[in-house]
Amino acid sequence: MTNVKLMVVVFVGIILGAVFIDMLGDRNFDASHVQTVTNESITITLGTGTLANEGFISGIAMHNSTAGGVPTHTSGWANGTITSTYAGALTMAQFPGNGTWNVSYTYGDTTTYVHNAQARTILPLVLVFFALGILLVGAIWVYNSLKDYL
């Protein structure tokens, strides 16, 4: 490959690589980022309600919105147990009454969040190796130019 051709290949490779690694970075962020919702107001009817966000992970805390933010109850609700599905459907056992309540919880991106902790640990390595690949494109140009003299 001539020098000019190689330079164009390297240039296109680096530009495309930078665009792709940017997209990959966004994807990785969504895949590992836990979002926190504090005091979301929901309507509870007969012990059931729906969270505004899907992708529920953990940490339901609930309190009566008319009680000035206190007391806060964690997943062991005083009069029963609060459970929530991944899709955000909230269910309370032995709920004392209907009304508007505040809930706090964490959730991840519905389609992208990786729930497996080990997989989330490895995710940044994908970015690192992709960056090494882009770097290698530049390094190949250097090697190709100097290989006759090395």
Partner: protein, 71 residues
Amino acid sequence: MLGNLIGGFIVIVIGVTLMPIVADEVVRAQGGNVTGSASTILGLTPLFFALGIMSAGISLTVSGLRNAGLV
């Protein structure tokens, strides 16, 4: 030899012209969610691009000197 010289000059002139675009793209990618080691490694890419241009120059010089019998 003349072909090598012209090719080498084209590579150097175009490479230097493209250098800011590469640097801008890398900085833009680093400004997003590419962080940590990946960002550091990505930051070295313009350096290697510049080294590639420099290598082309060295190659041009050495081959010219070799053809002239000076090396």
